[in-house]
């Protein structure tokens, strides 16, 4: 009988309380990953926090399951909401004509308005509104026909006006949701989830301060100041760092797909603030802290998880969580209070008097020249209307072609959906083979060459030929990347001749295979013995060794079968 051992794993548990590794290595032990809730078998090599067990629970890990369940009611529930600042992909800024080129020399993308010279006034960039509306449509938001701009005040050297123009009270769009694929960073568990949005608002980005500590000076670069941002605010629908990071990844894919943000988090095109609190199940929400300016999906996960852990530590130590702004220190792996922000900043919001209400029109007929408003007429874009959004692509891959979610996530994220359809529909490639070739070797190949699939040096025809050869099991999966790299160097050459030249055809001569098998079995008598005693998983060990002898040019399933036959025949 199988026993589910429910382990509550956390960094402290793993390292101090008991030997996590030994527990896992025990045969037939199955762990429930507290990160994703999935059953997890196998070696856990990463000692990451993936459960937030209380001190009590950690002490009582040896309790009976029923008692532990009782205990679990005193565990903590993290609640996370996100504010995502996505830079709008536009040639000029939100309220000025200055350029938005990333990496330009300091203070060269700055208009007088961006530097807050007195007497300058904001002039709304219609393209930014179009982009934000398109984003709102893609996220199923309700678009407010009339939205308004507010000023949010705080003194900061890289905010030259002393305020940021934003949309606090009457945002451009409200509601909406995004269906995203939750991916556990520990197990391979994937699951569709949905998070609700509160609003999408337009606002200005700030400049950058550079502190030269050595010379004791601060320098200001206003290139980013005034760049249009879409602030996308979610409901507190997330429960872990992985959960939030998965959402942000999918949101980024969506924005990139519809062309409203370039999604380059390393360049600051998307920055995330996370509101984090923890509470006991059934109790009201705890006091939240805000972790600001997280700039990679990895750091989203790490920052949120470390903040959750910190809050639990504070609460269990009898402390109180203060409503404060923190930042994530990637080097130390923990959040720290931000230095010069007051605890409760009063932003003194008030309506921006230089910008009349923004009115979205579907066509010219509703515009009145005398109404004091900023009128934006929605552009019709048939490409956009026909376009399949990432979630729709995943759905199609699953429903029409039967690609499992875990693979469709990769294909869609890597922008290989169209290629997949062409290969399957026009080149009659089989789905399993196409998926296998695209999702790993092809993605790695594109990554090595630093190109998109459109710019790939390997043509669709060559790729199709390769998949055909692969699906006829004439070549092993480990040879795929070799062939791709050869094709990239010499585009006129055919797949066939590359394989020929490199001798990559799969070994299907039984004599050679049996010779390899016999060699392996002869060299590992101990393993053969234990196989005989019933340890059937030894087959895998043998298989790997055989494949190694054959230089990877072998079909795993077939080898496995042959080894099994051999062993059973021999004894």
């Amino acid at each position: 009988m199988r026993v589910w051992t429910k382990l509550r794993l956390s960094k402290t548990v793993c390292l101090r309380k008991f030997s996590f590794r030994s527990a896992l290595c025990r045969p037939r032990t199955t762990v429930i990953c507290f990160n994703c809730g999935s059953l997890y078998k196998g070696k856990v090599t990463q000692f990451r926090t993936f459960c937030f067990a209380s001190e009590d629970q950690r002490r009582n890990l040896d309790l009976e399951p029923a008692d532990r369940q009782k205990q679990s009611q005193t565990s903590w529930e993290p609640v996370i909401g996100l504010e995502i600042h996505a830079q709008i992909k536009s040639a000029s800024k939100l309220f000025s004509g200055a350029g938005t080129q990333y990496g330009a020399s300091p203070n060269t993308q700055v208009s007088l308005f961006d530097a807050a010279f007195p007497g300058t006034l904001p002039v709304l960039n219609q393209r930014c509104v179009q982009a934000a509306v398109r984003t709102a449509q893609a996220l199923g938001c309700h678009i407010n026909c009339v939205s308004k701009f507010d000023r949010k005040h705080y003194f900061y050297a890289d905010m030259p006006a002393g305020y940021q123009i934003t949309q606090q009270r009457h945002p451009l769009a409200v509601g909406g949701s995004l269906t995203y694929v939750y991916q556990c960073s520990i197990t391979s568990f994937v699951e569709r989830r949905s998070a609700r949005l509160i609003q999408i608002q337009l606002e200005q980005d700030s400049g950058k301060s550079l502190h030269d500590l050595e010379n004791g000076v601060s320098l200001i670069d206003l290139n980013r100041a005034g760049h249009g941002l879409m602030e996308i605010v979610t409901e507190p629908d997330f429960t872990s760092g992985d959960d939030a990071a998965s959402f942000v990844k999918d949101l980024r894919d969506l924005l990139v797909a519809i062309g409203t943000c370039d999604g380059r988090m390393a360049e600051g095109s998307m920055r995330v603030d996370a509101n984090v609190s923890v509470n006991r199940p059934g109790e009201p929400l705890g006091t939240r802290t805000e972790v600001k300016n997280i700039n990679s999906t990895r750091n989203i996960r790490l920052a949120i998880d470390s903040e959750i852990e910190r809050q639990i530590r504070v609460l269990e130590g009898g402390g109180v969580i203060e409503n404060e702004t923190r930042s994530y220190d990637a080097e130390d792996g923990q959040t720290i209070p931000m230095r010069d922000k007051e605890k409760l900043l009063d932003y003194r919001f008030f309506p921006e008097p230089n910008l009349p209400p923004l009115v979205i029109h579907c066509d010219h007929s509703t515009i009145s020249p005398w109404s004091p408003s900023l009128s934006v007429i929605l552009e019709k874009d048939e490409d956009f209307e026909k376009m399949l959004l990432p979630e729709q692509q995943r759905k199609r891959l699953e429903e029409k072609y039967g690609v499992p979610l875990i693979h469709s996530v990769v294909l869609v994220r890597q922008g290989l959906f169209d290629l997949f359809e062409i290969l399957v529909n026009q080149h009659s490639c089989e789905v399993w083979a196409t998926t296998a070739v695209l999702k790993t070797p092809y993605v790695a190949f594109l990554d090595d060459h630093k190109v998109d699939s459109e710019e790939s040096p390997v043509s669709i025809e060559q790729l199709a030929e390769l998949i055909h050869i692969f699906q006829r099991e004439k070549i092993s999966s480990s040879s795929l990347s070799l062939v791709l790299n050869e094709l990239a160097v010499n585009s006129s050459i055919s797949c066939q001749s590359v394989i020929e030249e490199k001798g990559l055809w799969i070994v299907d001569c039984d004599d050679v295979i049996f010779a390899a098998i016999d060699e392996v079995l002869a060299k590992n008598p101990q393993n053969v013995k234990s196989y005989k005693k019933g340890k059937t998983n030894q087959i895998k060990v043998f298989t790997n060794k055989v494949i190694k002898i054959l230089d990877g040019k072998a079909n795993t399933m077939r080898i496995q079968q042959l080894i099994k036959d051999r062993l059973d025949k021999r004894f």
Binding site: F117, L121, F155, P160, G162, D346, F349, P353, P372
Partner: protein
């Protein structure tokens, strides 16, 4: 008279009245003469533009490319804008000669032009009459030493008003946020037009209250006012609050049928402290209109009494916000310790702003605190709506224009004016002017007659939004009827008889 002669004459007037302290930056005579020569050529070629060769001054809160724009504040003493305000641009495009930048209250906060860092503006009428009945001494520029008194020019656009009154230019621009054009126009005996909010671009006008600021026009006659207005009105891409339509030039209707007009007299504008002379002229003009066949009716604008307090709350809020850019980092005064950003800000702002400005910033930040927002800012906005509705109701009930006082009396003396602080004086002085700003309607200050002190007495006409054409036509009719005697400081005769240099009384055209 040729543009060249005109330029020379204006320069001479400016030279003789320099001690009135109305002009800050002056365009050099050489440059002006050169430009005047070009204008002259264009006239002879018949290609002269609308304002060709007309000398015009700007209040020192309009940004002028390459010319210091100080707002009368230490904060911006070193500030040279890298661009022209739209008003400046349009006027120059129309061929006008910019003669200089006019003095003002610091950041246009004040009603006397006494609070700028460049010192007070002296009302040019002080050269023909003084509070003590004596003529102004030539050394009035340092009045503090000899203790002589004089009349204030009104504010905050006092410099612009004085420039036109003294004859240094034919027109000038001020900014009207709560009466800052109409009050000095009234005290200096000029036509002061505050157009409808949104008709004139504010781009490049350093803001006091964005939602009320309007560039205003000083001229001696209503016709001149219309000419200037036509040259600058209409949509500006750079100001989203301007009208979308391009401007249809307004025409002064010389044959306006007064008998078809309904002029409202809002009873609430009969405010305490109104001088008997102003009441008299108010009655006289009402009678004049009635005699000409107009219907003159008493109307009620019940929320007018809240104007001042409403104005002050909204003004302070916007000031607090607008002025947070003056940190001395990108531009402006930088005098603080560089040890910390906060300290640097604090010192720059402390030394850069006067008490009036700092007071309003402080109050505004208080009103905008989350806990006060509803009680102050939102409430003031609601009251603003009610005040605006008062106008709408009056106009939709058949009233074409409103006739009201503009100031409580003729120009007050400087010694009296500085007895109270700016906040008190503004509350007194702006009492009947802020309503038009809160409602965004056009208003014009029209000089009508001289007081017992030989100072101008004026009234205000207000109309519905974008009714400038009719408003100016009515003002023009009244102007013709009353034949106001403008101040004329004629220095030609002075030059001829040097011994009579200061006998200005004799040279006023009566």
């Amino acid at each position: 008279m040729s543009p060249h002669d005109l330029a020379l004459l204006c320069q001479k007037q400016l030279q003789y009245t320099k001690h009135l302290n109305y002009m800050l930056q002056q365009t050099s005579s050489d440059v002006l003469e050169k430009q005047a020569k070009i204008s002259e050529q264009l006239y002879s070629q018949g290609t002269a533009k609308a304002l060709e060769g007309i000398p015009i001054a700007f209040k020192d809160n309009f940004c002028t490319l390459g010319v210091p724009t100080t707002c009368g504040s230490r904060m911006l003493l070193n500030y040279v804008p890298p661009y022209n305000a739209t008003m400046v641009e349009k006027v120059l495009e129309a061929g006008a000669l910019m003669i200089g930048k006019a003095n003002l209250d610091e950041f246009a906060m004040g009603s006397g032009s006494t609070d700028g860092c460049h010192g007070p503006v002296i009302n040019p009428w002080s050269m023909v009459t003084t509070p003590s009945g004596e003529r102004l001494s030539p050394s009035v520029a340092d009045q503090s030493s000899d203790g002589s008194d004089w009349f204030v020019a009104g504010g905050s656009s006092g410099g612009s008003a004085a420039a036109v009154a003294a004859g240094a230019c034919l027109a000038s621009f001020g900014s009207d946020t709560g009466g800052s054009v109409r009050i000095p126009a009234s005290y200096c005996g000029l036509v002061g037009l505050k157009p409808t909010y949104g008709l004139l671009s504010r781009h490049g006008l350093i803001p006091l209250v964005n939602s009320m600021d309007v560039p205003g026009i000083f001229t001696k006659t209503v016709t001149d006012s219309a000419i200037i207005l036509n040259a600058v009105a209409g949509h500006d891409n750079k100001d989203s609050t301007t009208v979308q339509e391009s401007h249809t030039p307004i025409q002064i209707d010389e044959d306006i049928d007064i008998s078809k007009l309904n002029v409202g007299i809002p009873k609430e504008f009969y405010v305490p402290g109104l001088s008997e002379e102003v009441v008299t002229v108010w009655r006289e003009i009402a009678d004049l209109l009635e005699k000409a066949g107009a219907r003159v009716t008493e109307v009620s604008m019940p929320h007018s009494r809240h104007c001042i307090i409403c104005y002050h709350v909204l003004c302070c809020c916007e000031v607090a916000s607008n002025f947070s850019r003056y940190t001395g980092i990108e531009f402006g005064l930088r005098c603080g310790s560089e040890e910390s950003t906060e300290e640097l800000y604090a010192e720059n702002r402390h030394h850069g702003f006067n008490d009036v400005v700092r007071g309003r910033i402080l109050a505004g930040n208080f009103f905008l605190l989350r806990r006060n927002y509803e009680r102050f800012f939102l409430k003031a906005q609601r009251i603003r709506r009610l005040i605006s509705n008062d106008f709408k109701n009056a106009f939709s009930a058949g009233v074409d224009f409103l006739l009201t006082p503009i100031t409580l009396s003729d120009a007050p003396s400087h010694s009296w004016f500085i007895q109270k602080d700016s906040r008190t004086r503004s509350a007194e002085q702006d009492v009947v002017t802020t309503a038009a700003n809160l409602a965004g309607v056009p208003a014009i200050s029209l000089p009508l007659k001289l007081s017992r002190q030989n100072l101008p007495l004026s009234l205000q006409l207000m109309g519905p939004r974008f009714s400038e054409s009719r408003l100016l036509s009515l003002a023009h009719w009244i102007e013709n009827e009353v034949q106001f005697q403008h101040l004329d400081l004629d220095f030609h005769s002075v030059e001829e008889s040097a011994e009579n240099q200061f006998q200005f009384n004799d040279v006023i055209r009566k």
